[in-house]
């Protein structure tokens, strides 16, 4: 087991308004979320001495403008003018989960005391994956000439591989979409709060990239979420009950740019990350009370459930049936609605929900008695990270 288990904790959490269009600069969303997270902790902004984020815009063909389409550390420094800042980072390879892990490492190293981590996501005007080029350079020379553009198609080809090699039926995914949307009705911050989804809606919705229909894809939105991370001894003295970080992992699988469609890459990425998290925390999948698994595209949950070890390969679509993923089921899953419910804010919201469930702060969607709370914070293939939070340190 990891000697640093339960020595760092998530304290406060914060959310901005989530909107479909970019009516105000993204920096304003990020600032709103950060302020709320700091206030939720009962801290003053001047207490914050660490900043960490992953500022990437996953859309293609749009300018990255700091404060408008991304919110970098530099932008946050300019807005907050923190008098006691001692440490900051923005990560590149592991999406927002890596930003949380680096903040954890900085706290353990003693170079800062209270770190804010945020993820701000922009919804550009026009087509999200805007691919107007007449040339295909670099890795895209082997993909773009055949119409492979956005990440959805890359995920879709692995999904056909999964469906047909395991003789499975995409209609079973309706359970995931419908159950997560029902969970969303307990999350007033979510984009789809107040909007129901039925199995019939799912089955009759238009295809985007087979096997993905509209409701297999998270909707692009503008918004931000944030957390305060601190050491366990400091977290105990703050307002909210802490969610202790019991262990984490990151994918170790090597992936070649431009190679797409490889189902085994998702599986190897996920299992390598989860193995570290199980070993560090000392838990196994059977110990988990509640799980958040990244669902930017629905099939990512399948790859997660199987590669993390919750069920066998080819079993995930059967595993989620019969109420298992309900709030009172054997493995409550994506209890905040997932990205399919909140809109595309990436995995920090999964981490937030993992922390809230561990600390008993999830309100009307709280899983009763939850202690061991698992998070897979992004698609396992390239940027995969995994976490376990607990309410009771051990």
């Amino acid at each position: 087991m990891w000697e640093n288990r339960c020595k760092v904790a998530v304290s406060g959490v914060g959310y901005s308004k989530v909107s479909r269009s970019a009516d105000i600069p993204l920096a304003a969303h990020a600032l709103e979320a950060v302020k709320e997270a700091v206030a939720d902790s009962g801290l003053e902004m001047s207490d914050i001495d660490g900043l960490s984020t992953y500022p990437e815009l996953p859309a293609t063909g749009h300018a990255e403008v700091d404060g408008i389409s991304v919110v970098s550390v530099n932008c946050m420094m300019a807005m907050l003018k923190l008098p006691n800042l001692t440490w900051h980072i923005q990560v590149g390879t592991t999406n927002i989960g890596g930003a949380v892990q680096q903040a954890t490492n900085a706290l353990l190293a003693g170079v800062c005391k209270y770190v804010v981590v945020w993820r701000a996501m922009h919804n550009p005007r026009g087509t999200y994956q805007n691919l107007p080029g007449t040339e295909a350079r670099g890795a895209t020379q082997f993909t773009a000439p055949f119409g492979f553009g956005g990440p959805g198609q890359g995920m879709a080809v692995a999904y056909t591989r999964w469906l047909e090699t395991h003789n499975q039926d995409r209609e079973k995914m309706a359970t995931l979409a419908v159950t997560q949307r029902r969970h969303t009705q307990h999350n007033p911050h979510a984009y789809f709060y107040g909007i129901e989804l039925t199995k019939e809606d799912y089955l009759s919705s238009r295809m985007v990239a087979y096997p993905f229909c509209l409701f297999d894809c998270d909707i692009p939105v503008q918004g931000a979420v944030a957390i305060v991370l601190t050491t366990a001894d400091r977290a105990k003295d703050l307002k909210p009950k802490p969610a202790y970080l019991a262990g984490y992992g990151q994918r170790l699988h090597f992936e070649v740019a431009g190679r797409i469609g490889s189902l085994s890459s998702y599986m190897e990425g996920g299992s390598s990350s989860a193995k570290l998290t199980w070993e560090r925390s000392g838990f196994t999948p059977k110990d988990v009370d509640v799980a958040q698994i990244y669902d930017g595209f629905s099939a990512s949950v399948i790859y997660g459930l199987e590669s993390y070890g919750f069920c066998g390969e080819g079993e995930a679509l059967d595993f989620i049936q019969d109420g298992r993923m309900e709030l009172d089921g054997a493995l409550p899953l994506n209890t905040f609605g997932g990205s399919l419910g909140t809109g595309r804010i990436h995995g920090l919201w999964h981490i937030i929900e993992g922390a809230l469930q561990a600390s008993g702060r999830a309100g009307s969607r709280q899983v009763k008695g939850a202690n061991v709370s698992f998070v897979g914070a992004s698609a396992p293939i390239v940027t995969g990270t995994t976490f376990i939070f607990v309410g009771d340190p051990y």
């Binding site: 020379q141 082997f142 993909t143 773009a144 055949f146 553009g149 070649v256 469609g261």
Partner: protein, 142 residues
């Protein structure tokens, strides 16, 4: 059947790692990068062998038959360059001579519903201009 005639495909720009692939395609032949140390085929090309880390890599001619490893059928017409062809099948092919190397392509001359994991396909070559010829696929005898 998808109408590919009005599609304006982005034109590949070869670089030092990929030029032998496109040179071979222009001759209507397939050549994939192979590690001379361990024999591993890989695609797309990479500066090192992803299996054994050797940098002794050469392009070797391979046959044009294989199976569909995976596929997607594009319905969304957000990419206007391909809008006239949707729905259309974008496929990933594993060649018989290069197991483990996955090539992207399109399925031509067949309804897009014929794209299935495990179907036999064979390469066809489509010149995009004087310099670049694109390998694509059609169904082959089972």
């Amino acid at each position: 059947m998808s109408d590919w005639s009005k599609v304006t495909r982005p034109i590949p720009v070869p670089d030092e790692w990929t030029k032998p692939f496109w040179d071979a395609a222009k001759r209507e032949s397939l050549a994939l990068q192979r590690c001379q140390s361990c024999g591993h085929f890989q695609h797309p090309p990479y500066p090192t062998c992803v299996n054994c880390m050797s940098i002794d890599l050469k392009f070797e001619a391979v046959g044009g038959t294989g199976t569909i490893y995976a596929y997607t059928i594009m319905y969304h017409d957000g990419d206007k360059r391909f809008a006239s062809a949707v729905p259309c099948a974008s496929i990933i092919v594993e060649l018989d001579d290069a197991p483990g190397a996955l090539m992207a392509g399109n399925l031509l001359d067949a309804p897009y519903t014929e794209a299935k994991v495990g179907r036999r396909v064979e390469v066809v070559f489509e010149p995009l201009n004087d310099d670049i010829t694109l390998p694509l696929f059609r169904l082959a005898a089972e």
